[in-house]
Symmetry: C2
Subunit: 222 residues, 2 copies
């Protein structure tokens, strides 16, 4: 009687399943997504599939064409990726500075715990890669949360940056450097040094993108 705490809402499971299909490229970018087809494959009725796709649409992972069905969005272009990081550079350094000034005891503890639990992926296994990206997503979201502004946190969250970047799967083997930069940001926040936190976050994003992700993406263009 202890175990069954999973909520019996099928639409959530369907939502996760479709998201996984898109992220792992089991549904190609730009391909059409049949509602009835998905329902058959997943063994459910079209109704929850329809609702799940409506949610995915707000995450920009699919687009709806009335009377013609849904279609997966294409991968981010270089311009869109530039735009995404420009937005992150507008939001996140600000959030880091605010977090340094406003985070309470509880928030600081959570930040320290997140850093302590994060291991640099010392091998190239897929599992280690996924574990680091999960930490990456949690860390940046936590900083946004500690800034104390729901609007900023939501705006940041609704970019779904980790989903889109994960679809590109171009950022392997960057764990140790990023982790060190995360620690630098965390130290500044814990020291209540707003200026240092802002600078560290800005530096982290610029190095991550212009120094690592973007060159990899640009050379991988086809």
């Amino acid at each position: 009687m202890g175990a069954p705490l999973r909520r019996p809402v099928l639409v959530d499971d369907v939502h996760e399943a479709i998201k996984a299909l898109i992220m792992d490229h089991r549904i190609a970018p730009g391909a059409r997504v049949s509602i009835d087809g998905l329902a058959r494959d997943l063994g459910v009725s079209p109704t929850p599939v329809r609702e799940a796709l409506a949610r995915l649409e707000s995450a920009q992972l699919v687009v709806k064409e009335p009377l013609r069905g849904y279609r997966t969005t294409p991968l981010l272009t270089l311009d869109q990726l530039d735009d995404l990081y420009q937005f992150r550079l507008l939001i996140e350094p600000w959030a880091a500075a605010r977090a340094a000034g406003r985070a309470g005891e509880d928030g600081r503890a959570r930040l320290a715990a997140e850093l302590a639990a994060a291991d640099a992926p010392d091998d190239d296994t897929y599992a280690a890669y996924r574990a680091f990206t999960a930490h990456d997503a949690r860390f940046h979201l936590l900083v946004a949360e500690l800034a104390g502004s729901d609007q900023v946190r939501q705006a940041f969250q609704r970019t779904h940056w980790h989903l889109h970047i994960y679809r590109l799967h171009y950022d392997r083997g960057i764990g140790p450097k990023a982790l060190a930069e995360h620690r630098k940001i965390s130290d500044a926040v814990l020291a209540c040094d707003a200026a240092a936190a802002e600078a560290a976050m800005r530096e982290h994003l610029e190095r991550s993108y212009y120094g690592r992700l973007r060159p990899t993406y640009a050379e991988g263009d086809r």
Copy 2:
């Protein structure tokens, strides 16, 4: 044969209908929203209602409680309103500066046209009030669009600030001043003066909020 171009997508109409119900307080803030009940009232089946509510959820106008239905979100508290305008102050001055530097011929023409078409509401009629709020929403969205960043435009749009502020309906009779400030912003953008545009937008938001909207809201608390 010319007229009937309305798309036969019922869910869009349902979405607009429900949004109107919430905005006009025909469904009280915090009240429960029955799926079947709405379907009966609107004369449609629950399926499109369900999909429309899923969309409204991303606009924060309703929240879903699994197995318990949907509920309208309460009106924005003063803290949330502060937070909303803090976010606008982070985004919109930046967008105005970028718009001044990047807007093309087409964009400038659209901006000029929007200003030319906007009349200051010289009377206190409801129609004039609604016309001004419509211009207000279009103007700020246009500036965000002219900044040339989809991420910023979407982040701004997804706040649905005009929906939430309209629910408060506390900002009557501010048309002429706001319109003059809009014109100042527009002039700076059209003159390609990024610094002036940024300053004008910041001044406009601060005056609108701290000088007009917030005092009205604060005195109207119950």
